[in-house]
Every structure is written in structure tokens, then in C-alpha cells.
Symmetry: C2
Amino acid sequence: MVVRMATMSDGDVDAIFHALADATRRDIVARVIEREQSVSSLAAAYAMSFAAVQKHVAVLERASLVVKQRRGREQIVHADPATLERARLLLERLETLWRHRAAAIDRVLAEDPET
Amino acid sequence: MVVRMATMSDGDVDAIFHALADATRRDIVARVIEREQSVSSLAAAYAMSFAAVQKHVAVLERASLVVKQRRGREQIVHADPATLERARLLLERLETLWRHRAAAIDRVLAEDPET
DNA sequence: ATAATATACAACCAAATGGTTGTGCGAATG
DNA sequence: CATTCGCACAACCATTTGGTTGTATATTAT
């Protein structure tokens, strides 16, 4: 199956990195990657109000890093690893840029040493 | 040469992702990767005040994504690709976690199908 | 039917963000 | 020396963030 990567708007990328810029949210992502779980089960893990955790999950959801799925009266939070990959690919692209630049510099230096 | 990766505090990671959560700042990183340049030469590229760009560079600097180096009256902004790599490695670790989980699920499913 | 549970959501607050303008100061140029 | 250039920094402002509490709603359990 081929999946076309939708072109990401700046806003999407902003949302992803912003969501990852908080230790609690990164921890939530790690937890739901290991095992999907309800919002309240997540909330139990942190020294803050339920509503605060709920908001963190909402931020992750807006960034498409997690998805919520209702099950009875619970809301189960799943990871969406595709979004993580998108973010990683962006960083990889920047690193590639760097390697190309470094290679270009090397070429120039090798070309005409001490002329 | 062996480089020991200093353990990153949550705050460091927060700073890196926060710095990347803005299109202007990501663009600045890309530009200085391609060619290091002065703050004012960067500022010329954006439709905002010099001070605003200066602040963006400061955010990137706090995150160690760029380094400034004085040259005469100019301040030359360089990329620090090591920090980019750190961020990428973090995302990779999360993705690895996911792959392990997926593998564990596969194992369970294969173990006892339809008992 | 009542109570308890899981979530949603609004209102509120302090602090941080992302922008502005203005002021000052060291370095280069005329 | 006077001026201009590149930058730093402070003050200010609107908006967003990350937390709180309180209220409402739907679902399960007694």
C-alpha cells in the first residue's frame, strides 16, 4: 500500500514541534506508544489536575501525535507514529542539507590547495 | 575522536523543540546551514523588524541550534548540527519504542491464534 | 432511580511569546 | 571627529500557554 504524504503546512509543523516542546507531553506520547490508555489513567501518573492532563492530550491531538477513540465512557488515547516520523524526516532533511554543505566545502578545499 | 553526548535535561529538550516550533526560526536554521551569515543579513530576509529577528536568533541560540561569533561589528550566526541530531535521535527513540511494541503485539497474535 | 465515573468545557490567572519602538554603544567609514 | 552600521536591550502590548477550579453531560454500577 502506498501512502501519499500530504504536504505539511507550516502550521502543522509548528503544532508538532510545539506539542513536543513539553516534558509532560513527550512522556504522554511515550506512555501511549507503549500502551494505549484512557485520559484518566494518564492523568493518574502526573502531579497535576485531570483538566491539565486533558489539555496536554488536546495539544497532542491537534498536532496529530495522538488520536482519541471513545470506548464506553472512556476516551482511549493512541499514538500516531506517522506524525512522529514526519517530524523526524524534517530534522533529517536539515541534517542532509548540512552534510551537502560540508561536502561542498570539502570539495572547494581539495580543489586548489595552497595556490 | 569520541564525543560523549552530555545527558540532556528536560529543559534542554523543551528549548530545542520550542525553537523549532516556529516557521521563521526553522527557516533561519536552514539558511545558516547553507551559509553562515550576520544577523542583519538574516533580518533582511523577513518582513519583520530587526529586533524581532534578533529575538528569534536568541531563541535558537538558547537551544544551541545556532552559535553566534563576533566578526568585526557583525555577529555571524552558525548552525550547530549536533543539536539537530540530538532532536532527531529523540524522535527515533520514540519510533523505536513503537516498533518494539508493534513487534510484541505481532508475537502475541502469532502465538495462540483463535484459541 | 441514584450514585459514581470519565470526560468536556468555561472562566479565571500568572507567566511566557512574538511582535513593536526607542535608546545606547562599540566598530568601521568618511 | 562625526557619522553610519550592526547589534543589544529595555519597555510596552496583545495573544497564547499552562495551570487552576467549577459546572455540565454521558455512561456504567448499585
